[in-house]
């Protein structure tokens, strides 16, 4: 018998692979596997395509989003990770996907048209004021950031200032190679995460090996 174990709200595990319930049944977002059990369709969450999935696989011990959560996602790209976030938060949740590149957003907008809880915003994440109005003072449960820019921590803090309240969660993916090609990877992580400690309590740092090279995901809570 096929059994799925719910490891986090709305995230299921089976034989080392993880799945989310497909919000739009029979539609694939990025070519992932679909699985039907007891008339419920699940989508497999690819560790190599999504850094959040890789972090779950590598022992993330807390998941700040559940059904109905509001998520601000910086660096949405083609929306691979966001599609699963959209599955998790369900019809009552909202996810805002911000990305600067029109090229990748072409695909993302298509997904937004199918998933009613995802909103596309084409703006520079360095300028939170350009999309502040769209969020309409909503309480953001999770600020997720995965951008390949040299000033990752600064972008994260700037958005924190605008959108996070005490107790909200933040997830920051640090890509060492975007910050410096030459310095030691460990010291880059230390420096970037050190910049957060004024504003955040860092709860866990997950290395994304072997799915991503020189990446960590930091889970933190706004102080």
């Amino acid at each position: 018998m096929f059994t799925l174990e719910e490891i986090f709200p709305e995230i299921f595990e089976h034989e080392g692979k993880i799945f989310t319930k497909n919000l739009v049944p029979s539609v694939k977002v990025y070519g992932e596997k679909l699985l039907k059990i007891d008339n419920v369709e699940y989508r497999q969450w690819d560790f190599f395509r999504s850094k959040l999935a890789a972090a779950i696989k590598n022992g993330l011990n807390e998941m700040p989003i559940k059904q109905g959560s509001t998520v601000l996602y910086l660096g949405a790209a083609e929306g691979t990770t966001l599609s699963h976030v959209s599955d998790i938060i369900g019809k009552t949740g909202i996810a805002f996907g911000v990305d600067i590149s029109e090229r990748v957003m072409r695909k993302f907008i298509g997904m937004c048209e199918q998933r009613k809880n995802v909103m596309p915003i084409i703006e520079d994440a360095r300028k939170p004021w350009t999309y502040k109005a769209f969020l309409e003072e909503r309480k953001i449960d999770l600020l997720f950031q995965d951008v390949s820019q040299p000033d990752q921590a600064r972008i994260f803090l700037k958005n924190t200032e605008y959108f996070l309240k005490k107790g909200s969660a933040g997830m920051l993916v640090v890509k060492a190679k975007s910050i410096s090609q030459k310095s030691d990877v460990g010291s880059v992580f230390g420096k970037e995460l050190g910049a957060l400690t004024d504003q955040f309590k860092i709860k866990q740092v997950v290395n994304l090996k072997p799915f991503e090279k020189d990446h960590v995901l930091a889970l933190c809570e706004k102080l």
């Binding site: 909202i94 029109e102 937004c112 030459k182």
Partner: protein, 268 residues
């Protein structure tokens, strides 16, 4: 509340679609795509030509060492087929006077190549004409790029040359990015791999030029001065592209080219 969200979602999707549309109606997008196709066409042509030459080499092995130019070689294959048909007169008609016609005809008569089967020759000639069609498309595409570059950034494309300018712009990501670029970055566009290798390990020397190496002024100076020439050209290129992007359509390229010519003369 729920209706609010639905409405906002609609508005956001509309806005994003409009932004995408605007981005793709910018004129640099076409050039960037075209320059990428240009590279692929070159690669495809070389691959096909290599195959065709290898194949025809069994029939007429001596030809390759006489006709070095792939395009001319393929034209001969397409036009004559079997080597016995090659004649001095028709050759000069096909390729213009090259002074090699007589030698080709003589070699064709005394060739050590084996006869070629009729159906194999048909395939081979089809291959040659397809490769030549790619070459023709490439020429047209090159003209398109040069024309569009001239319209988009007249000063920059005059100093850089159309194709080189387009290549630099594609690498930078667009005209705006190019206009914001420091000269030192411009100088090394296209040499990223060598640059990062050097940054990681200082024992390896850093690159002096990337795409700019293909600039006609760099070609004119001897090896030890190529870095200097590249640096001078890069510094003029950033000025030119800024004049195009921020300026009032004034032609500043003549003065720049004159200055560069002086500089190059000193470096020779």
């Amino acid at each position: 509340m729920e209706q609010d969200i639905a409405q906002m979602r609609k508005a956001l999707i509309r806005r994003a679609k409009k932004q995408v549309q605007e981005r793709y109606s910018e004129t640099d997008v076409d050039i960037i795509r075209a320059i990428s196709v240009l590279g692929d066409l070159d690669n495809a042509f070389n691959l096909l030509a290599e195959n065709a030459i290898e194949w025809y080499g069994g029939h007429f092995p001596e030809l390759q060492s006489i006709v070095r130019d792939n395009e001319a070689y393929l034209k001969i294959v397409k036009e004559f087929g079997e080597k016995e048909n090659i004649s001095e007169k028709k050759l000069s008609k096909l390729l213009g006077e090259t002074g090699k016609e007589k030698r080709i005809e003589e070699k064709a008569k005394s060739s050590m190549g084996s006869p070629v089967k009729k159906n194999a020759l048909e395939e081979l000639q089809l291959l040659a004409s397809n490769a030549l069609a790619l070459k023709a498309e490439r020429k047209k595409l090159q003209e398109f790029i040069e024309k569009e570059m001239e319209k988009l950034a007249p000063n920059f494309s005059k100093v850089a040359g159309g194709i080189l300018g387009a290549r630099l712009m594609a690498n930078a990501g667009g005209l705006k990015q190019l206009a914001m670029m420091p000269a030192s970055t411009m100088q090394l566009l296209g040499a990223e791999k060598a640059l990062f290798r050097h940054l990681k390990n200082k024992k390896i020397k850093g690159p002096k030029y990337g795409f700019i190496y293909g600039h006609s002024f760099v070609k004119q100076v001897p090896g030890k001065n190529k870095g200097k020439a590249a640096r001078s050209i890069a510094s003029k290129l950033v000025l030119a592209v800024r004049a195009d992007y921020f300026g009032n359509k004034k032609d500043v390229s003549k003065e720049m080219i004159a200055n560069l010519e002086k500089r190059v003369a000193k470096l020779k």
